[in-house]
């Protein structure tokens, strides 16, 4: 097939935008939420994951996800891109562009999990966990949903990663948070975010970058991409308002952290649906995402008493799953959506497929994540020693300090 120059131009840009989401976007978003003595360690996690996963993606990750293979996992035919040249084509794009765009998704997914284990993890554990997780959780699920695997064959709808990115990362976060144990003092005596402004900058970058994430998932520069960024943006905006509104009613004041958390929740929620719904669908996804994630945060923290420290499961996991379900409803042409996959056909049938996708993704993510964490714990160890935690990971794990007067 012929390469489409316009699509290529847009996906090159989208790739830059999604990398920008992780570096420096997510790094800032997360670093602002921890204590100052651990801020650099969080940034370091994001940078290190970016480097590590990129090389793994070249080595085997891309091939496991997107080479032919079975319904369950790809093969190694594309390992190290040995057979890919400038002229290789995937769909309407040069294969290198497709490879890079997908790589940025493979990077940000384990980077999201950073939020679960901040302020207490050993750096070795971050590296080993992320590497194994990327190959054992991300690559297969990516293959199932986008790489021609069994869920794609069933017609599952996941436009930009409600399952592949957010559900996997959310469940992985829960697993590692439980097995790693909570921060000292959790839940009563923990400290507020050290730098909400940093979190705002990160959230702004995530929002802008998400145009590339969802809009780029159209793999074309057309009305599909346009509609995707439209619903993405409207979901984010609505969710920000709703979350801040909930805070205003419940706690007397709308906070900036709350509003940007809502924005991110809205973005996560709209992600799987962003290619299938219309503008009002975006508003509905944002509003419901904000409400559900808002209470999920409290449920995880206060009921389940799990220290998923920066709420990765409650915001990304729950949002992604919710959006995956709602996609099946809001895609209905009657509701302004784009209709259903041929092999599903009706809202009911699609819902069943979506539930299968959610169930399989969460189950596999849970089982595999737990196994990976146990292996990491048994080998390099999981938790930094108490003195390291006391003095902060920046100084003790990386020999650096966030500010020197």
């Amino acid at each position: 097939m012929q390469v489409d120059g316009a699509a290529t131009a847009w996906i090159l840009t989208a790739t830059a935008l999604v990398l920008f989401m992780t570096l420096p976007g997510l790094a800032l978003f997360y670093a602002g939420l921890v204590r100052v003595k651990n801020a650099l360690s969080v940034m370091m996690h994001c940078v290190a994951i970016t480097c590590l996963i990129s090389v793994l993606w070249l080595a085997v990750g891309y091939s496991l996800s997107f080479s032919g293979g079975s319904s369950w996992i790809g093969d190694l035919s594309k390992a190290f891109l040995l057979t890919t040249t400038k002229d290789s084509v995937t769909g309407k794009l040069p294969e290198t562009v497709f490879f890079m765009f997908q790589m940025t998704f493979a990077i940000i997914t384990p980077a999201l999990i950073v939020g679960a284990y901040v302020e207490r993890i050993k750096f070795q554990a971050v590296l080993m966990f992320s590497a194994l997780w990327s190959l054992i959780v991300y690559a297969p699920v990516c293959h199932w949903v986008w790489g021609g695997g069994w869920l794609q064959q069933m017609g599952v709808m996941d436009f930009a990663g409600g399952l592949v990115v957010h559900a996997t990362a959310g469940v992985g976060s829960l697993a590692i948070a439980v097995l790693l144990g909570h921060r000292d003092g959790f839940p009563k005596d923990i400290k507020p975010p050290h730098n909400p402004g940093m979190t705002m900058i990160g959230a702004g970058m995530l929002w802008v970058g998400w145009y590339g994430f969802n809009g780029g998932s159209a793999l074309a520069a057309d009305g599909g991409a346009g509609m995707a960024i439209t619903v993405t943006h409207l979901s984010a905006a609505t969710a920000g308002l709703v979350w801040a509104g909930l805070e205003w009613v419940r706690f007397g004041k709308p906070s900036m952290i709350g509003m940007v958390t809502g924005v991110v929740g809205g973005l996560a929620t709209v992600t799987p649906a962003s290619g299938f719904v219309g503008p009002l669908g975006g508003v509905i996804l944002g509003a419901s995402g904000a409400v559900v994630c808002h209470f999920a945060v409290e449920f995880v923290r206060h009921r389940a008493k799990v220290d998923d420290s920066l709420d990765v499961f409650a915001v990304h996991g729950v949002g992604g799953v919710l959006g995956t379900l709602l996609a099946a409803v809001l895609a209905s042409a009657a509701l302004g959506g784009g209709g259903y996959a041929a092999n599903a056909g009706s809202m009911g049938a699609q819902l069943v497929v979506q539930l299968a996708g959610i169930g399989a993704t969460m189950l596999w993510s849970a089982v595999a994540s737990v196994a990976i964490v146990l292996v990491v714990k048994a080998t390099v160890g999981l938790r930094a020693p108490p003195e390291h935690v006391d003095d902060g990971l920046d100084l003790t794990q990386h020999g650096e300090r966030a500010f020197t007067p």
């Binding site: 839940p187 005596d189 923990i190 400290k191 507020p192 975010p193 805070e247 419940r250 706690f251 004041k253 906070s255 952290i257 709350g258 958390t261 808002h294 945060v297 409290e298 923290r301 709420d311």
Partner: protein, 112 residues
């Protein structure tokens, strides 16, 4: 000589500085601190979780003055920093045995 150490609300710094100038205080040192007293701090809510922030932002003003200025200085600070609100702050008086101006080597009151 005495060291007057006053903890006041941050926005009271400027009025206090002017009041001190007015009573002839010619030098002072200021630091950003956090304080705790009758005003017990507050609770901040982030993502639905309550964070007890025990300390409120305050400014600490330190000025070394001669003994005869003490009452005037304490009065000046009170006048400028008193808003009748909890957390307005405190003034402490601490004895100082010597003061030296680095540049000139002057000592005692001459160094202030």
């Amino acid at each position: 000589m005495k060291l007057i150490m006053a903890m006041v609300k941050p926005f009271a710094l400027e009025p206090v500085r002017l009041a001190l100038s007015a009573v002839g205080v010619e030098g002072m040192t200021v630091s950003e601190v956090r304080g705790y007293g009758r005003q017990k701090g507050h609770t901040e809510v982030y993502r639905g979780a309550e964070y007890v922030v025990a300390f409120m932002p305050k400014v600490k003003i330190e000025t070394v003055i001669s003994d005869d200025q003490v009452d005037a200085v304490v009065e000046a600070i009170r006048g400028a920093a008193n808003h009748g609100k909890i957390g307005d702050g405190k003034v402490f008086v601490i004895p100082v045995e010597q003061a030296v101006r680095i540049r000139t080597g002057e000592t005692g009151a001459a160094a202030l």
